[in-house]
Each structure stands twice: as C-alpha cells, then as structure tokens.
C-alpha cells in the first residue's frame, strides 16, 4: 500500500484534480488535460512498463473514456487509472501508444467500439468492424438497426487516418497510405490454413521476403462484451468458454474469480483444488494442440496426429467430469458445476504416467529434427522490452525472458501453495517459444501430481443466492490462460447485469507484435512465427 500512497502523491502533484475512487479495486480518475503527462510519469518515472489492459468505457453522463491497468514488471506493483472526455460526439483522448506499444491495437479497439479519437495515434482505423460500419456498437446509445447484414465485399481502406491537435484546440484528420503503389501485397487469410482461423494479414513482399504486415482482425468478432451487458452474471459465464476454446476452463475461472471477488465470496479448498487441476489439464490440452498445429503448419504431419492422439486422452478425462469435450461450462459462480467423477483421480494419474514418456516422442521426432531446428532457431526474435511493451504474455513473453506468469506474479487458487518452476527462456525466437510450451506440459503435470492425491473433502458448490447482484465498483482479475494473461474487468452499477465487461484478450497483443517480429523474414517464417505465437482468433476478436 505504501507504493500506492507514493504514487497517489505523485499523481496529485501533476494535477490536483485527479481523484482516487475506492469502489471495487479502486482507481485514479484523471482529467483528460493532464492525462498524457501522468501517463508519461507512470511509464518513465514510476516504471509501470506493462499495460495489462486498456478498456474503453461509456460512462454515460460522464462521457467516454478509458481504463488503464498498469503493472510494474520489476516490483510487481499494479495501478489502475482512468480518464474520460465529457464530449460524447467528439470524444478525444491523448494516445499512449508510444509509451506502451500494446496500446496501439487497444486504442484502435476503443475507437472502433466507442468512437473515441486518440490524438497522435498514427493508424486510427477500425480494428474489428468493417470500415463502412455505422456507429460504435459498445456505446450505450447504439442503435442495433443501424447496420443490417451487408453482403457487399469489403474494400478495406488503403490509407490510415490519424488525428492531430492544432494549437487552437481543434483536430485535423491526416491520412497515411498503408502500402505504396508499387509494393507487391498479398492477402494471407481470412481463409487460409495457417492463420488458425479467420485472421487476415496483408503482407507486402519483396521476392519471398516480408517488408510489412498489416493485420486485420474482426472476422469472428461476435460482440461478446456487448452481449454480456444484457446478460445476468451467471449468463455471462457461457461466453467465456467460447472466447479461447482451448482455455475454456481458465477463462471461466477468471470470470468466476472476478465475480466472487466482487461478491466477497471465498470458495472452499476443494473447489480451488479442482479448479487448479482442471486449469492445468486444459493447459496440457492446449499446448498439445499448439505442438500439433505448429508441426502441421510446418509440414510435419505426423506430429499433428501424435498431438491429437494424446489430446484425446485429456479430453476423455475432462469429458467424464464436465460432459464437454471442448466447451466445458464447468466453473460456476462459487464453485463448479458437478463434483469430479469417481474415476477422475485414477484416470488423471494414469494419464500423467502415460504422458511423461510420450513427451520424449515429440522431442525425438520434431524437436530434434534438423529441419525443424533450422527453421525455428533464431527465427522471429522478440526482445524482452518489446514483449513487455506489447504486453505479449504467456509462452511468448517467457520465451523472451520475461517472467510474466500470472500464477507466480499474482498467485490465485492453489498456485501459491504448489511447487512448480516458471519456464523462462531468453532467446525469444520461435524455438524458445516452442520449448516453453513443451516444458510447461511437464510443469503442468508436476502441479497436477502434487494436487491430485490431496483433494480435500468439502463442497463443490458454495451457497450462492440465485439472484446475483454486485455492489458498485470495478474489478479486475486475471488468470494464466493457456497462452497468456487472461483478464476480466467488470464494472458494476449495483445491478443484476454488469455495466461493462471487458476480457483482456491473450491473443491481441500477440497479433499486434507480428509486424515487429516478422519484418524481413520469409513467408515460410511468418507461418512458423504465427504458429509459435499461438493465438486463437476468437479470443482476439471476442
């Protein structure tokens, strides 16, 4: 708390109008006029180098604004600041994308959803919706009838707009061409076997070498955050499974944790055990699929089938207890859907003893393969600074030497009490990103092995009122998803429905750093980089 008081004083020194509000996790509300200065101080002097989450907000009367969740990666201190512009028609905030690179895509998202103009942002196009979309859907006053299904082929803009402030306080719109006339631009995606879904890259080529990449998201943007606003809290749970379907357990865990935190509900130890084991099983499942897909993208089909063979074993275990193969719908507010299956403990143990030797098979056939090594080692380097700045968490960040595991940074569930190693490698290339995942499978098995025999007796579902209302305030909680920090931000106005729910996508920072990583590499490397970054598109688009 000392840290917070210190920061409080420093923020007040910049602008005395900044207020600390205590509701929920608490946050600083900073006036727009001094926000840029405060942000610079936080980034450069106070060392908040990791932008965990940037959430666009529609506060109605108070205007449109943003909530920034920041973290200092060296001390682990966190802070939440927010700012808002009262002018709803022409809301404009200063851009912070030069302080945190990860803000680039997040600000485009906020522009897309709320129509907030970020002054000084070099490329303020829509991120998810079509360029010809009318209105901004996450505003409270958005009219659903405004945009009927448009079957015209989308012609995307050739130039990126940016807004700059003139000395007299008005804004001027500038346009910068994305690609030059003579560049050879190809489209990779949205329907392409190696984009893992419907992501689209516009790639400028010189021969086989990539000169520039422009990522287009939104082909699977389902508007989950808006849907959540009209769902009761238990209803919102269903959407999380469908965000990152390879982290269904973890995503739902995060949302449940956030709601429980807001309710002040403490879940029993048995639930914590079950949730932790399930999360780790899910992680193994996800990492196996990662290996399969990476190998498939690189042309080694045999490994793809090995991965799926072993993955089916995890799915069998999950299915027995949860009833689902992919979408588990298992965690609930204050517990889990059903108690573990009587065979669960035995099956999990069997699986672990089956899986440990099988991992060697992967190393023999793929890790040790001379072609795989040649293609992965040294390819697509991401420096530690960039990883932090982009907020590229998960295996990607850890491969770059950034110890970003939420399980260690902010332990939740049983992670504070189990003994496991956080895999941190240093090269930041494709091979390290691959190895991090392979080693994490082992660590996940270690965690499960420590817990599986000691699951305490107790309730699997706490007593929760059927009608859940959260007090006023805002909360953020995060779990280590299969591919990075998955965070949930809830703002409540004391209703049965959340006022605003924001999911911190694990994949969006990963996609935003593709352009940085994949410049001056070959097309084939882009595929390997995409494979090792391991993003899941529905998680990016939400």
């Amino acid at each position: 708390m000392d840290n917070k008081i210190d920061i409080k004083a420093r923020i007040a020194a910049i602008d005395p109008a900044a207020v600390w509000s205590d509701a929920g996790d608490g946050m600083f509300r900073i006036p727009v006029s001094s926000f840029r200065e405060t942000a610079e101080m936080l980034r450069k002097e106070a060392g908040f180098d990791f932008l965990r989450s940037l959430t666009g907000m529609d506060w109605g009367e108070e205007g449109l604004g943003c909530v920034y969740h920041l973290e200092n990666t060296s001390t682990g201190g966190t802070i939440t600041v927010s700012t808002a512009d009262k002018d709803r028609e022409n809301a404009a905030l200063p851009s912070v994308q030069d302080l945190w690179k990860g803000a680039n895509f997040n600000e485009r998202e906020a522009y897309d959803f709320f129509g907030i103009k970020f002054i000084g942002h070099p490329d303020l196009r829509r991120l998810f919706l079509r360029d010809d979309w009318k209105g901004h859907p996450l505003r409270k006053d958005y009219d659903m009838a405004l945009n009927p299904l448009n079957m015209k082929n989308e012609v995307s803009d050739d130039d990126a707009p940016s807004y700059e402030m003139t000395p007299d306080g008005s804004y001027i719109l500038k346009r910068h061409p994305l690609f030059e006339e003579e560049e050879y631009v190809i489209n990779i995606g949205p329907q392409h076997p190696a984009t893992h879904g419907v992501l689209r890259f516009q790639v400028s080529l010189e021969g086989e070498t990539i000169k520039k990449i422009d990522a287009h998201c939104g082909y699977i943007h389902r508007g989950i955050e808006k849907l959540c606003e009209s769902s009761t809290y238990p209803q919102t749970l269903g959407f999380t499974d469908r965000l990152d379907y390879l982290g269904a357990m973890q995503n739902r865990h995060a949302l449940c944790m956030c709601i429980e935190k807001a309710m002040g509900l403490e879940v029993s130890e048995r639930i914590q055990y079950i949730r932790t084991i399930m999360d780790e099983l899910q992680r193994i499942d996800s990492h196996l699929l990662f290996t399969s897909c990476l190998a498939q993208d690189m042309g080694a089909l045999e490994v793809f089938f090995l991965g799926f063979r072993d993955r089916e074993k995890v799915l069998d275990i999950l299915e027995e207890t949860t009833g689902g193969r992919l979408i588990q719908t298992y965690n609930t507010i204050g517990g889990v859907q059903a108690d573990i299956h009587p065979d669960f403990v035995r099956k999990v143990k069997e699986f672990i003893s089956y899986m440990r030797p099988k991992l060697k098979e992967y190393h023999e056939i793929f890790t040790g393969n001379v072609i795989a090594r040649e293609r992965l080692i040294g390819t697509g380097k991401l420096s530690r600074e960039d990883a932090i700045s982009f907020g590229a968490t998960g295996g990607t960040g850890r491969a770059s030497g950034w110890a970003c595991d939420v399980r260690k940074r902010h332990p939740y569930a049983m992670y504070g009490k189990v003994d496991f190693e956080e895999i941190v490698l240093g090269n930041g290339d494709c091979f390290d990103r691959y190895m991090v995942r392979m080693k994490e499978i082992e660590q996940s098995m270690n965690i499960i092995a420590q817990l599986i025999d000691n699951i305490p007796e107790g309730e699997y579902q706490m007593k929760v009122k059927p009608l859940i209302k959260l007090p006023e305030g805002s909360w953020y909680s995060a779990v280590e998803g299969s591919r990075g920090e998955f965070g949930v931000f809830i703002e409540s106005r004391g209703d049965r429905y959340p006022y605003r729910v924001k999911f911190r996508s694990t994949g969006l920072p990963l996609v935003s750093c593709v352009d940085t990583i994949a410049r001056n590499v070959k097309i084939a490397d882009l595929i390997a980089i995409g494979g090792t970054l391991d993003y899941v598109i529905p998680d990016i688009d939400r």
Binding site: K134, R222, F305
Partner: protein
C-alpha cells in the same frame, strides 16, 4: 426406380430424416429415368458420394472438432473425405464450422462462389445454424442459410465428432439420391454466368458512397 442410398454398416432405419431423402428421390425421378442414363448416374453418384473433399475452413470452436475428425481417433479418411483442400476450387463441400459474422459473411459467400460445382454446404454447430449463443449480437449472422444454401445441419456446440461423422454420412446419402445426368444439370450460358458474377461484385462507385460516412 429404387435407388440405393445405403451407407455401409449403418442401417437405413438408424438414420433420421429418411422421409426427406425419400421425397427427394421421388421428386427427382417423377418422370422416370432412362435405364442407361440411370445406371450411369448411379455409378457417378456412388463415386461422388464416396469422394467428398472438404475445404479446410473453420472460424471458431467447431473448427477444432473438425480437426479432431481428421485426426487419428475419428479419422474421416475412412469415408473418403480424406483430402482436405485449402483451395476452394478443389473442394467439394464447405463445412461452415463456427460463427459467421457480418464481416465474414461476404468472404464466406465468395468462398462458396469460388468452389466448383457440384458443391455442398454443411452448417456445423449452433452458430452456423442460427447464430447460437450469439444470436442477439450486432455482428453475428443468425444462420448461414441466409447467405448460402445449406445441405446438412449438424447441431451442437460444438457437435461431437461422432455427430459430425453422422452429418457427413447424411450428406453422402443426399449426394447418392441426386441426379447428375438427365435434364437437371443444364448449365447456364457463359454470358449469363458472367453477368451473374458481375452482379455480385462491388463496383468502385458503391464503395465511394460510404467512404466519407465511415470515418466522419
């Protein structure tokens, strides 16, 4: 003429929607069939039904299950669905696995147009059938049948691989019941085809119209 729409090692009665297939058979053969054409037809349909190649197309969760039916345990290669083609030109059916959003809809339509005839569409999972849990969203197409004609619906969220295999067998039955030769397959002239194609395409003027409003 009785047509064989059986699937190996699966009883006729075990299938749902037999009525639909029977209706289809009756309708297509109302005026009787030439013996030679009929036999030839049968051979062709037998071949086609056992060699349906999917397009590797997936937008979300169902796509992973689609991968799972290609993998070792479910192995749809057994049925001849083996060669998943990445190029729509070479695929026989498109499995719409996952939610289709407003931004994706024209792309899906274009993919469908790019496929070579005869082509089929399988709508997989709640999202593709009706919008599923996202039906009320501002950006989700509630049912791909609004955009492209669907042959088989496979419900589920996501459907189990077994359900997908069953759905694909239904597609096989449907293909077997079809008539390839004899009147129904009359193509349109190339000029007419070009005209229809152009009607779908954006013109430059169309785009200009909403260029200004898009960013105002």
């Amino acid at each position: 003429m009785k047509r064989n729409v059986n699937i190996k090692s699966m009883k006729y009665e075990d299938f749902n929607d037999n009525e639909y297939i029977e209706n289809m058979l009756r309708e297509l053969r109302e005026n009787g069939t030439n013996v030679i054409v009929g036999c030839l037809d049968e051979v062709i349909e037998w071949g086609r039904s056992n060699s349906l190649w999917p397009l590797t197309f997936a937008t979300s969760c169902c796509g992973i299950e689609f991968m799972a039916i290609g993998a070792a345990r479910y192995d749809f290669a057994r049925f001849g669905f083996e060669v998943a083609r990445s190029s729509p030109r070479q695929a026989d059916f498109i499995m719409v696995a996952g939610t289709i959003t407003h931004k994706m809809a024209p792309v899906l339509k274009r993919l469908y147009d790019q496929m070579a005839d005869p082509k089929y569409v399988v709508a997989t999972g709640g999202c593709a059938i009706s919008g599923g849990p996202f039906k009320k969203s501002y950006h989700v197409v509630d049912g791909v049948d609004k955009i492209i004609p669907v042959d088989v619906y496979i419900p589920g969220c996501p459907p189990r691989p077994e359900a997908m295999l069953y759905g694909l067998m239904q597609l096989q039955r449907k293909v077997k019941a079809e008539r390839f030769l004899g009147g129904l397959n009359k193509g349109i002239s190339e000029k007419e085809y070009e005209r229809q194609m152009r009607a779908d395409t954006n013109t430059a003027e169309d785009y200009k119209e909403y260029d200004e409003s898009g960013l105002a």
